[in-house]
C-alpha cells in the first residue's frame, strides 16, 4: 500500500501529545480506501470541500493506480488547524471500503484512531487501540437507489454521512460542496444528499462515538479558494494570452488541457465576432505537439504544450531546435515517476536535469519551478513573457501532487504587468533601420537577445530563414568556425540574461542558523512543517526555495552563509543537489542531498528525521 515509514515518525509539528480523553479538533488525517472507478472521487472531494467551507485548513491527496476500474485507491484528507497541508504518513481515521486492502488499512491506522468499515468486510478486528464503526454502505445504497450503476456511486456517500455525524460536519456544508461538484445541478445533488442524510441518521441511531476526533468551524480559509494545479496552470496560461495549444493525452498532465478546454471557450471568444482567440490541437504524439508549438511560436503566437516525462523525452529534438533557432515555446511538465513508464500515477521531481539540458549538443533551458497552485497560475502567464522575451523554450516543472490534487490557496492575482512580447520588429521599424539594419541573430543590445520579425510582416526586408543548422548573424547557412562560436557565445550570454529575468528564490534567513534547507516545487509544504519540527529539536534552519533555473546568484551567498546545506527533493539522483554543487563548486562539500523518491509526496516527518540524523552524524 502507501508507504511504510519505518523510523518513528514524530508527530506533526503542531500536535501536542494529548491525553486519551482530550478531544482532538481539526488536527488529524482521514484515509479512505476504495476501489478506483467506484465513484469515490465525488465522495472524497465533497468531504474535502465541506471541511474547507467550514473554514478548516485542509489538503487532499489521491493515491491512485494506473488503471480504470477495480484497483485499490486511497484518498487522504489532512485537517490542520495550524495550516500544515503537506502529506502525513498515516491517518487517525481510516475508512475501509475495499476488502482487498482492508487488512493492511486496518494495520496502518494510528493508535487511538478510528476504523470505519463497510460491514460486509470480514477481517479480524483485533486491535484494542481503535474505535470500530461498521457501516451498512451497500444496504443503505441499494435501499435508496434503484439504478445499479448509481448504487455503487452513492454507496460512497454512506461514509460521508457517517463521518459527518461522527465528526460533526454540518450537512449544509456537505450540500454546498456537492453543489460545487455538480456545478449547481440539483438532481445529482439531491440523489447524493438523500444517502448522506440517511447515513447520518443511521449513524446517529446506531453508532456510539468512542473516539476523540471532531471538527469545529474555523475561519482560517476565509477568502481562499480551492483548486488543482493543472487547472491553475490552464488559467494562468489563458490570462497570459495563450493563443495556440498542442497536446497529447498523458497522465498526469491531461488536466492542463482539460482546463484549457473548459475555460478558453468561456473567456476567449470575441464578444462581437464570436471568433476564438485561440486554437487547441490534440496532436498525434508529443513530438508533433511540440513541433506545432514551435511552428506557432515562430509565426508569433503564444504557444504551449503540456506533458509529462515520456512526452518530454519525445520533445528532445524540438526543444534543442527551439533553443538554437531561438523560438519561443512554453512546455509544462507535470512530473510523474520515471524512468520509462515508471509509476504514471505517482509523483516525482525526476525530470529536473533532463528538462534543464534537453536536446543534443550544448543546450540549456529556463525551467520555472512552481511551489504552489498560486505559482502554477502565476508562472502560467509569466512563462509566455519569458519565452517571448528570451525567444526560447521555457519549461514549467510542476508535478502530479501539485497538478492533480486540490489545494487551498489565496485567490490568484491578475497579472501585474502588460504582456512582454519581446524584441519584435514591425514594418515601420524595418523602414527606419533600412537595408542591412535588421540582422536576425545580431546581439544589438548586448543581452544576447537579437531582434526578430514575424512571418507575414509586409516589408521586403522582413523575411529571414530559420534553421537548425549553423548560421551567421544574417541567418544565412554557415559552417564557419567563427560564426558558430560567436553564435554559441551569444546564446550563453542570453542564458545569463535569463538568470536575471527568472523569478527570484524565496529566502528566509534565520539568525544564528547554521543549517539551511534548499528546496523547490511541491515539497515546500513538507519543508515548512519540517522546519518547525527541527526547531523544536533545537535545530534552527534557514530556507531558500528555488523558483527557477538557471540557478540564481543569490544561492551562492546563501550557501556561503551556512555550515550545512540540505537539498530536499523527490528524485533518486539528487538532481538539484548536483546542480547546486556545480553552481557553487567551492562550497560543494557542505551541500548534502536530502532526497527521497518512492512515488509519494514527501512528509515533514521524513525530512526532519533525516536532517536530525545527518546532523548527529548517524547514517
Amino acid at each position: 500500500m502507501i508507504v511504510a515509514e519505518v523510523e518513528s515518525a514524530p508527530q506533526a509539528a503542531s500536535t501536542s501529545t494529548p491525553d486519551e480523553q482530550t478531544p482532538v479538533v481539526n488536527d488529524f488525517c482521514i484515509n479512505v480506501a476504495t476501489k478506483n472507478g467506484s465513484g469515490s472521487a465525488t465522495a472524497n472531494t465533497t468531504l474535502l470541500r465541506a471541511l474547507f467551507k467550514m473554514g478548516i485548513p485542509v489538503s487532499g491527496k489521491n493515491v491512485f493506480p494506473s488503471n480504470i476500474q477495480g484497483m485499490p485507491t486511497w484518498y487522504t484528507i489532512r485537517l490542520s488547524k495550524d495550516n500544515y497541508i503537506g502529506r502525513r504518513p498515516n491517518a487517525e481515521i481510516v475508512v475501509a471500503m475495499n476488502p482487498a486492502t482492508a487488512l493492511e488499512d486496518h494495520q496502518k491506522a494510528e493508535p487511538g484512531g478510528v476504523f470505519m468499515y463497510a460491514d460486509d468486510i470480514k477481517i479480524p478486528l483485533n486491535r484494542t487501540d481503535l474505535s470500530y464503526y461498521p457501516i451498512p454502505a451497500k444496504k443503505l445504497a441499494s435501499e435508496n437507489e434503484t439504478d445499479p450503476k448509481l448504487r455503487t456511486y452513492v454507496a460512497n456517500m454512506v461514509y460521508v454521512g457517517a463521518l459527518a455525524q461522527l465528526l460533526g460536519i454540518d450537512l449544509l456544508d456537505i450540500e454546498r460542496a456537492l453543489l460545487y461538484h455538480f456545478r449547481g445541478k440539483r438532481k445529482p445533488v439531491e440523489t447524493n444528499m438523500k444517502v448522506v442524510k440517511l447515513a447520518a441518521e443511521w449513524a446517529a441511531a446506531n453508532l456510539k462515538k468512542t473516539d476523540r476526533f471532531r471538527v469545529q468551524e474555523m475561519h482560517a480559509t476565509d477568502g481562499m479558494i480551492m483548486i488543482d494545479g493543472n487547472t491553475a496552470a490552464a488559467l494562468g496560461a489563458i490570462y497570459g494570452g495563450v493563443s495556440f495549444v498542442a497536446w497529447y493525452p498523458i497522465t498526469p498532465a491531461t488536466g492542463v488541457a482539460d482546463g484549457l478546454n473548459e475555460y478558453l471557450p468561456r473567456l476567449r471568444i470575441d464578444p462581437e465576432t464570436r471568433k476564438p482567440s485561440y486554437s487547441i490541437v490534440q496532436a498525434e504524439d508529443e513530438l508533433a505537439a511540440l513541433g506545432m508549438v514551435i511552428g506557432a511560436g515562430w509565426a508569433g503566437a503564444r504557444a504551449m504544450t503540456s506533458t509529462s516525462g515520456p512526452g518530454i523525452s519525445l520533445m528532445a529534438e524540438f526543444t534543442g531546435y527551439g533553443y538554437f533557432a531561438e523560438i519561443p515555446a512554453v512546455i509544462w511538465d507535470i512530473q510523474r515517476m520515471g524512468p520509462s513508464t515508471g509509476m504514471p500515477t505517482r509523483v516525482s521531481q525526476g525530470d529536473l536535469i533532463t528538462a534543464h539540458w534537453l536536446g543534443h549538443g550544448d543546450s540549456k533551458h529556463v525551467c520555472l519551478l512552481p511551489g504552489s497552485v498560486y505559482e502554477c497560475f502565476e508562472f502560467g502567464w509569466r512563462a509566455f513573457d519569458l519565452a517571448e522575451r528570451l525567444q526560447t523554450p521555457v519549461f514549467v516543472l510542476s508535478d502530479l501532487d501539485l497538478g492533480m490534487n486540490q489545494w487551498m490557496t489565496r485567490p490568484f492575482d491578475y497579472p501585474d504587468q502588460p504582456m512582454d512580447r519581446g524584441k519584435v520588429l514591425t514594418a515601420e521599424d524595418l523602414n527606419r533601420l533600412g537595408i542591412g539594419g535588421f540582422k536576425r541573430y545580431k546581439d544589438v543590445d548586448g543581452d544576447g537577445i537579437a531582434p526578430r520579425t514575424l512571418p507575414g510582416t509586409e516589408h521586403p526586408l522582413a523575411a529571414y530563414f530559420t534553421r537548425g543548422t549553423g548560421h551567421d548573424e544574417n541567418a544565412r547557412l554557415s559552417e564557419r568556425p567563427e560564426d558558430w562560436e560567436g553564435n554559441m557565445e551569444r546564446l550563453t550570454r542570453k542564458f545569463e540574461t535569463a538568470r536575471e529575468l527568472v523569478p527570484r528564490p524565496v529566502e528566509e534567513r534565520v539568525e544564528g542558523a547554521q543549517v539551511a534547507i534548499i528546496a523547490y516545487g511541491s515539497t515546500d509544504f513538507a519543508v515548512s512543517e519540517a522546519r518547525e519540527m527541527l526547531a523544536k529539536q533545537g535545530i534552527k534552519t534557514s530556507y531558500m526555495r528555488l523558483r527557477a533555473l538557471p540557478l540564481p546568484e543569490e544561492a551562492k551567498a546563501f550557501v556561503a552563509a551556512h555550515e550545512h546545506v540540505y537539498v530536499v527533493e523527490m528524485n533518486t539522483d539528487a538532481q538539484m543537489c548536483q546542480l547546486l554543487r556545480l553552481h557553487v563548486p567551492e562550497a560543494a562539500a557542505k551541500i548534502s542531498a536530502c532526497n527521497h523518491n518512492d512515488g509519494m509526496p514527501l512528509t515533514a516527518a521524513w525530512i526532519s528525521t533525516t536532517i536530525v540524523k545527518k546532523e548527529k552524524g548517524i547514517h
Partner: protein, 361 residues
C-alpha cells in the same frame, strides 16, 4: 502505352501596369520575377529539385503571390535545402527531419492568412515523418506539400528510401526487396483533397499543378518524381530522367484559371469538367476518351493501384475534392490571425478572473 495530350499550363500573364510596362516586366502586384528568386543552389548540377524550385518561382510570380505572405517550410535532406533557393523575400523555416508537418500545422494555424509551400523528400515524408504527414492530411492544413521524390537518400549517400520501387538497384545498397510506399495512395487514404503526381522533367505541368495546389482549400500533396543525378539516375531506374521521359503518361489535360483570368480554352460541349477551387480559381479538365475523373476517389485509388501493378509512370491531377473544411475553418478562426492579436484580445479582463475566483471559494 497511350499518350495523353500535354498539359496546357496557365493561360495568361496579366498585363503589367502601363507606367512600368516599358521599363520592366512585372506581375499583377507589380513585382518582377527577380523579386521571387532565392539564394544560389548548392545541390548537384542537374538535380530535379532545382527544376522544381524554379517552377515554384514561376507559379508564384505568375499568380502574383506576395512573397511576404507566403512561408516556405521543409524538413531535412537534399529536398529540404531547396526552400533557400526560391523566394528570399518569403519567410522560411527548415525544421527537423520528417517534422515539417507539425511545424506547418502550428505556423499556419497561428497565421492562417499566409500561404504555405512545404518542400519535403521521400525519406522525410515516406519514412521518418510518415505519421506526421498522415495526421496533417487528416487535419487538412491549407498548404502546398511538395514531395521531391527520388527514391534514395542523397545527403547520407545512397540508401534506399521507402518509395524505392521493388527490385530497384543502387550502387552500394544493392537490390530493394521491399514494396514501396505510394505517397499519393497514402494521401488519398488520409482524405487529402488534392493529390497529384508530377515529374521534374516536365516543368510546365509542375507549374500548373503548383498553381492549382496554391488555390486549394486544404493540404495539396504534389508527389513530384525528381531524379537524383548522383545516386539514382541510371536509365533503368524508375526515378531517373530517362525513365520518366520515355514513359511519362499524363492522366489528364487540365488548365488552371486564376480568379482574375478569363477562360481562353476552347472546348466543345461536354468535353470539359470544371472544378472550382477555394479562392475562386478553376481547374478545367478535358474529358478524354478513357479519361480519369479526378473527382472520383475510388477511380483515383484504382488508377494508382493499376500504375503500381504495371509500373506505370503516371502524372497529373489524381484526386481533387474541395468539400472538406480545412483546419483553420474547423478552428473557426476569424479575420485577425492568432499571431497578430493584440493584448486586448488575448488577455481576458480583470473582472473575469475575480468571477472565477469567487466561484471557487
Amino acid at each position: 502505352m497511350t499518350t495523353v495530350p500535354v498539359v496546357k499550363p496557365v493561360t495568361t500573364t496579366p498585363p503589367a501596369p502601363a507606367a512600368t510596362r516599358a521599363a520592366k516586366k512585372v506581375n499583377i502586384i507589380g513585382l518582377e520575377r527577380i523579386d521571387y528568386k532565392g539564394a544560389d543552389s548548392t545541390l548537384c548540377a542537374g538535380c530535379g529539385h532545382d527544376s522544381i524550385a524554379s517552377q515554384i518561382i514561376t507559379a508564384c510570380y505568375e499568380m502574383g503571390v506576395r512573397p511576404e505572405n507566403l512561408i516556405k517550410l521543409s524538413g531535412i535532406g537534399c529536398s529540404s535545402k531547396s526552400p533557400a533557393y526560391f523566394m528570399s523575400r518569403s519567410f522560411g523555416i527548415n525544421t527537423l527531419h520528417g517534422r515539417m508537418a507539425p511545424v506547418a500545422t502550428g505556423a499556419l494555424t497561428a497565421n492562417h492568412k499566409l500561404h504555405g509551400i512545404g518542400v519535403s523528400g521521400d525519406g522525410d515524408t515516406g519514412s521518418i515523418g510518415l505519421g506526421n504527414f498522415i495526421h496533417m492530411l487528416r487535419r487538412n492544413v491549407r498548404m502546398v506539400y511538395i514531395v521531391e521524390n527520388n527514391g534514395v537518400y542523397g545527403l547520407t549517400k545512397g540508401q534506399f528510401s521507402a518509395t524505392a520501387d521493388l527490385g530497384q538497384e543502387l550502387k552500394h545498397a544493392g537490390k530493394n526487396e521491399l514494396p514501396p510506399i505510394d505517397l499519393c495512395m497514402e494521401a488519398i487514404a488520409a482524405e487529402c483533397g488534392f493529390v497529384a503526381r508530377g515529374f521534374a522533367g516536365d516543368p510546365k505541368q509542375v507549374v500548373a499543378l503548383i498553381k492549382a495546389a496554391l488555390s486549394h482549400r486544404g493540404t495539396a500533396v504534389l508527389d513530384i518524381i525528381s531524379p537524383c543525378v548522383t545516386f539514382n539516375n541510371k536509365d533503368e531506374s524508375t526515378k531517373s530522367y530517362a525513365w520518366g521521359r520515355a514513359r511519362d503518361e499524363r492522366i489528364n489535360d487540365f488548365t488552371f484559371v486564376a480568379p482574375q483570368d478569363e477562360i481562353k480554352v476552347e472546348y466543345g460541349p461536354g468535353e470539359m469538367k470544371e472544378v472550382e477551387l477555394h479562392d475562386g480559381s478553376r481547374i478545367l479538365l478535358k474529358k478524354l476518351d478513357q479519361g480519369h475523373d479526378p473527382t472520383d476517389r475510388l477511380a483515383a485509388t484504382n488508377l494508382l493501384q493499376d500504375a503500381r501493378d504495371h509500373q506505370l509512370f503516371i502524372t497529373g491531377l489524381i484526386y481533387v475534392n474541395t468539400e472538406r473544411q480545412n483546419l483553420a475553418e474547423h478552428e473557426d478562426l476569424g479575420d485577425v490571425p492568432l499571431a497578430r492579436m493584440p493584448e486586448s484580445r488575448l488577455r481576458p479582463p480583470r473582472e473575469s478572473l475575480q468571477k472565477i475566483m469567487a466561484a471557487m471559494a
